[in-house]
């Protein structure tokens, strides 16, 4: 990891959270002594089944929930610090947007919560609407949107302040495969531009595609943590990709490999994953596109997010 990535953006030590009932009695111990460190420029994945404590941990980092115990530091400050939130972008698990506002009004509203002048808010709003593919529906109320379109609005609002730390809770939930791919590309692009990303997701393929490191939570505890490639690497087997050859030569290769390895050899054609295939088909169809009522494909990352910090 480079020197630039060594600064700890999020630091959590011994974090505990117990939810209590109306009378103050302990009800659920959601987080049980978590230690985490997320460094600058990193995409960190928080994985785990439902109720494992992912969203609780994220809400504690944002100061929305109070920790029962442990030390938490976000961007060098306590999570309750209002100041540190100027540098954070947050996409909640559910798309919490005001249903009677349009996407444009939503982004303008969230922009006004930051120290930005109106001209800059308008400029960023336009860029983000183009980025998430909602320009052509920017004057419709979000309440009329599909889940995926509302999700795109939520994603745009999380980036309005050009945050240094982006916290995304299930960002691809409700998105079509193209939207999923765009969000993943966006995360990679943001990380390349020096942003730190904390991603929580049930979709393991998403996490595998983009995360540098992951932590797997179960019942409020971290059960595994490390670099994705280190965790997934099967060191006792190899795969070799080469151009296709005729059947006779293939058998020779199989026998040769079996002789060298001393074990069974499996030979097959590599296949494109369904997501790539789907994106390919839809992109080709999109070349003949007419007017769309839903979200458009969106464009590249917004210009203001490209500044390398």
């Amino acid at each position: 990891m480079s020197e630039a990535k060594s600064e700890a953006i999020v630091s959590v030590k011994g974090l505990r959270k117990t939810f209590r009932d109306f009378w103050g009695r302990a009800k659920v111990e959601a987080v049980r002594g978590i230690d985490l460190e997320i460094r600058k420029g990193e995409i960190f994945g928080l994985l785990g089944p439902n109720g494992s404590g992912k969203s609780t941990t994220i809400k504690i980092l944002l100061g929305l929930l109070h920790a029962t115990g442990g030390d938490v530091s976000v961007l060098g400050k306590s999570p309750s610090s209002v100041k540190s939130k100027e540098r954070i972008g947050y996409l909640p698990e559910e798309t919490y947007v005001y249903s009677y506002l349009t996407p444009r009004e939503t982004l303008m509203f969230y922009g006004r919560l930051f120290d930005m002048d109106n001209a800059r808010i308008k400029e960023r709003t336009q860029q983000l609407l183009e980025m998430v593919g909602l320009t052509h529906v920017s004057d419709r109320q979000v309440g009329e949107f599909s889940k995926g379109m509302a999700r795109r609005t939520g994603l745009a609002q999380a980036l309005i302040n050009d945050p240094d730390l982006v916290i995304l809770d299930e960002p691809t939930s409700g998105l079509d495969p193209i939207g999923c791919r765009q969000v993943k590309d966006l995360m990679l692009e943001l990380a390349r531009n020096g942003k730190t990303i904390l991603l929580s997701s049930h979709l393991l393929a998403d996490v595998e595609d983009v995360c540098d490191r992951v932590a797997i939570l179960f019942n409020g505890e971290i059960k595994a943590e490390g670099k994705v490639e280190d965790l997934l690497k099967e060191t006792d087997s190899l795969s070799l990709t080469m151009p296709s050859v005729e059947e006779g030569k293939l058998e020779e290769i199989r026998q040769f490999a079996a002789k060298l390895s001393g074990g069974a050899v499996q030979v097959d054609h590599p296949s494109m994953d369904l997501e790539s295939f789907f994106v390919d088909v839809v992109n080709r169809a999109g070349d003949e596109k007419g007017e769309m009522s839903g979200a458009a494909s969106g464009t590249d990352i917004a210009e203001f997010l490209k500044n390398v910090s």
Partner: protein
């Protein structure tokens, strides 16, 4: 400066949110329609139609205002906490106290708007109702049917304009109808000065009972207290629970002087309870207006100060409670 900008953004959003709720339009329309009907359809008034219309209009202002202030406060706070929009906003650099106070300010803006419309309706209804005139110009009972009919038509016209704006400009119907109601009411209050006691055209002359402005102002002050209490309750309770608790407090507030206020000097417990419960009697001047009674300005100032102090105390408690609450 940024705090002020955030405050205005949040308060403005809250006001818009409340004004886009269909229930707000329902309460506005009900208030204005009932005020319009009261002078026109009164039977068996025993020469007391002025008092009946006046009391009825003020009671509508108080009761429907209570519904509006209470429900709006509960819904904007409880619903935002439970739907998660509060979490989304509080993940931005927004202090919790600022969020809470901005919500209050937004609701108060709507309450003021409602009170302005209701005050206009009260003035117009009182002007239109049957009265006995004994002057060199006019002797006998007269009803200003023109003003009464115009007042009755006002909410319907507002809804028609709202529908038109919705169809042509694609703006939300409720907001357009409510804005139209406000504008129409203002025009009607000015325009009715060109209508005489018998409902016929005249040159500009004000026939309104201006004492009603002070009475309406006091009700409006009471409604700001309702909004503050409802907002405090909604921090911890859902909308139904908060509205139930608010209704109990509202009812207790009407009898707080009878049960506790009279004994406040003799009993510490009574004094404490009287201090904790709002005394709505301070804001009800319907009886005072009978028999040409007046509301002293000094009294109105004291009642408004009471409302402001009480609201401030409630808001302080609410902001402290909200600061420590968790956003799930």
């Amino acid at each position: 400066m940024i705090r002020l900008k955030q405050f205005l953004a949040l308060a403005g959003l809250t006001a818009v949110e409340v004004l886009r709720q269909p229930v707000s339009l329902l309460l506005f329309v009900t208030a204005l329609a009932c005020m319009g009907m009261s002078p026109l359809f009164l039977l068996h008034n025993f020469g007391e139609s002025g008092k009946i219309v006046r009391d009825g209009a003020l009671a509508l202002h108080m009761f429907l205002g209570f519904m509006l202030a209470g429900y709006s406060s509960c819904s904007v706070m409880a619903r935002e906490i439970r739907s998660g929009t509060a979490s989304a906003v509080l993940s931005k650099p927004v202090g919790r106290e600022l969020f809470f106070l901005a919500k209050y300010a937004g609701v108060v803006v709507v309450v003021l708007f409602f009170s302005l419309c209701a005050t206009g309706g009260t003035l117009l209804a009182e002007k239109a109702c049957e009265k006995f005139y004994f002057s060199s110009r006019l002797v006998g009972y007269y009803v200003d049917n023109t003003t009464g009919v115009l007042l009755l038509l006002c909410p319907g016209a507002a809804c028609l304009i709202g529908a038109f704006v919705n169809v042509v400009r694609k703006r939300p119907f409720v907001t357009a109808a409510l804005s139209s109601a406000g504008v129409l009411m203002l025009l009607l209050v000015v325009g009715a000065c060109f209508i005489n006691e018998m409902g016929r055209p005249q040159s500009f002359y004000c026939l309104y009972d201006l004492r009603l402005i002070k009475a309406s102002l006091l009700i409006c002050a009471g409604l700001t207290v309702v909004a503050a209490i409802a907002l405090l309750l909604a921090v911890r309770l859902n909308t139904v629970q908060a509205m139930t608790a608010l209704t109990i407090i509202f009812l207790l507030g009407w009898v707080s002087h009878y049960f506790f206020g009279r004994n406040a000097d003799a009993s510490v417990a009574a004094s404490l309870l009287y201090g904790l419960l709002p005394d709505w009697q301070h804001f009800w001047m319907g009886d005072r207006l009978s028999d040409e009674g007046v509301i002293p300005t000094s009294y109105a100032v004291r009642a408004v100060c009471y409302a402001a102090t009480y609201s401030l105390a409630i808001l302080t408690a609410g902001a402290a409670l909200f600061s420590n609450s968790e956003m799930k």
